[in-house]
Amino acid sequence: MKNKMMTGNEAIARGFYEAGGVLAASYPGSPTVGILSAINKYDEIYSEFSTNEKVALEVAIGASFNGARAMVAMKHVGLNISLDPLMAFTEIPTQGPFLLVTGDDPGLSSSQNEQDNRNLGKFANMAIVDPSNSQEALDFTKEALEISSDFNIPMMLRITSRLCHSRSIVTLNDRVEHDVPGMEKKPEKYCMIPSNAKSQQLYMKKRLERVETYAYDTSLNKYEASDDKSVLIITSGLLYENLKELDLDISIWKLGLIYPISKKRALEITAHYDEVIVIEEMTPFIENELKLMGITCEGKEYFSLTGELSIEAIEKGLEAAGVINQIDQKKVISEPTVPRHPVFCTGCPHRSTFDIVKKSKADLVIGDIGCYSLAALPPFEQSNSIISMGASVGVTKGLIKSRKNNDKPIVSVIGDGTFFHSGIPSFINLLHQSDGEENVTFLILDNRTTAMTGGQHNGSSGRFNSKNDLKVSIKELLETIGFEDVQEINQYDYKKAKEKINKAIGEKGISIFVLNGPCALKYKLNKPYYYVDPTICIGCRNCIHTGCPPLEMKKYHNIEKLKSSIDRDMCVGCSVCAQVCPVNAIKLSTELEVEDE
């Protein structure tokens, strides 16, 4: 027994380890990327970042079919692409205990939407647990696998981004091993063809009823009864901890198993109270469950449908509900100040590409999800749409095929990770009914890693990094599909890239460029720095407009006009600013070259 600080993500990994987990798969996405990174450290568990969330789920399903303890972890939107296998898998009595971890993102700290996956857990007939702190993240992971084992039900552990990244103390225990019996040869159980799947519809309902019976007195739920019977608060997850900060003398029913809720227990407890208030983020999930049971309760009247519910938001909501009197909150004055948008890192290879695109004749730029989503923000503002992983290619085709008398050039951008995640089927589809009249230029930004989430491997990483084993050539794959005009360019060779991309934008047909440039962060670009000679600089700001962080306009001694400058401690020597300078005022520091030798 040892105590340790752990994030919610690390605690889930630890819980899976202690529970005798055999296989874990994931696709990197915030907020859950840390789960698999932590699991990687346990030799007893086979783990992988799969090509996408659907593949990750299927890999975990295979392990569960074998009778092994399996887990799949993904960010909330990953469940959308995974829903196809999930909806059939949950029809089957679960063999090896199975846990799906979904990282929801109330407040959208790093996501394109705020979907509440509790609704998808219910939709897929799973039971759902919702931990409040790291210790519970560990305990609930273990308990969820026990429930899965006892009731043959696939479990969902729902965690929110705040809890994924928050640290608190956990107690560690030893790992318990379990047998892996191997897959049964029972096609009637595992082949979800209509004749076999029909009976499973009622089976899933009955299975949930059995879990509901278990839920009546599960230790996952906690009832704290106060003497004051006027109000009962029902809540779950981190919100319980936020509520406790208010130090109120109030009754709380904290749910750990949030679906199914025991109707018998809910009726018994709520019967004691005049008023029931539900505190939950995003959709009124628990509130609706209670209302379906005929329990009168309120929630969304006082608490927002969007964003996180902070301690202050809970206090204000409870004041509005008349549960607490006048808030004694400190008057906080927060004046708006200059925002700080995320930008491409210093030396990022994508910077040159978007500088080229911004100056090009492209009519529309269709973006996708990855670091290059940042091109939607200043200083480039070069994305007309971003929706979901890999969608840019299909969207581009729809734009081309539905246009009338408009052949203005379209540039469509996708990264290497996203290409492998779900771009490939769309590229195959692109050639179907292609007439050569379209003017579209695809830019595949290959920085050799899934960079936005911290530099995980993907399908082509092995070509550049001996530690990775996947070595797909994007260019050769596209040529095999049937594209004739696929060119590789070095992103740091600004002038050559600009010339070729502009030529393609000026011509009809589908052109594809694989733009190579290793992620400056992951592959630690660190070359001699550049500096500005202010006596040559004409103050045109071409370099400044690339937005590279070390650059700024500066007042030099004895020079009247502002001239560009480079912070030498920040510069990593990518050379793009020097290449966009029209008067060669930006020079390589020879001084540092000497030091390097």
């Binding site: 105590n3 790093s110 705040r162 901890e241 902070s310 909150q329 927060s334 995320p342």
Partner: protein, 193 residues
């Protein structure tokens, strides 16, 4: 007797490491600790903020507005952005090195130097150009540990008791072995400041 420590800065400045070190030192000293940090998009030069709460019983990792005891700001504008989280007598520990947000770089907005200067009227500020000092003794990466040194010193005269040695132990737990000595030097620089 809970102490609420806020951290702010931008992606890449090592805020997660700072959070790790503070948490571990407090844990070693026998306190209950909870923390928050924000990652994701923030790795790309966006703003980051987080916090550590230390005490006898902590429920939420979140700090309520106006309840912060210390604000460790790795960049002045990011100190300005979060000062409203502090108590009236809260302290700011500041790295003076400016890093322009993109709108300042593009000359759309001015860097809010006057508003940052005005913070001195409301708060006690322990200020150092940690980036510059860090480069002097090694490299800019260890600027964050200089600020940890300043915090350790400030906490030493506060109610919270965390031995100097525990800070060193937790630094050792989290930095790569070959960088331990350099990080000790950085800690020292802040602690003796």
């Amino acid at each position: 007797m809970n102490k609420n420590i806020l951290l702010s800065g931008m992606g890449g400045q090592g805020l997660v490491l700072m959070t790790d070190i503070i948490c571990e030192a407090a844990l070693k000293a026998g306190y209950e600790v909870k923390s928050n940090d924000v990652v994701g998009l923030s790795q790309r030069g966006g703003m980051v903020w987080g916090n550590v709460r230390i005490g006898d019983k902590i429920h939420s990792p979140n700090i309520r507005e106006g309840h912060g005891d210390y604000l460790l700001a790795m960049e002045p504008l990011e100190g300005l952005r979060w000062h409203h989280m502090l108590k009236d007598n809260g302290k700011i520990i500041l790295n003076e090195k400016h890093i322009n947000p993109v709108l300042v770089q593009q000359e759309v907005e001015d860097y809010p130097s006057e508003a940052i200067e005005a913070l001195k009227e409301d708060y006690e500020i322990l200020s150092i150009n940690a980036a510059k000092e860090a480069v002097k003794i090694g490299n800019e990466k260890i600027a964050n540990v200089i600020l940890i040194g300043l915090l350790a010193k400030a906490l030493a005269s506060d109610e919270l008791k965390i031995d100097e040695e525990l800070w060193r132990e937790s630094i050792k737990d989290f930095v790569p072995e070959k960088a331990v000595e350099l990080n000790f030097k950085a800690f020292e620089l802040g602690f003796k400041n």
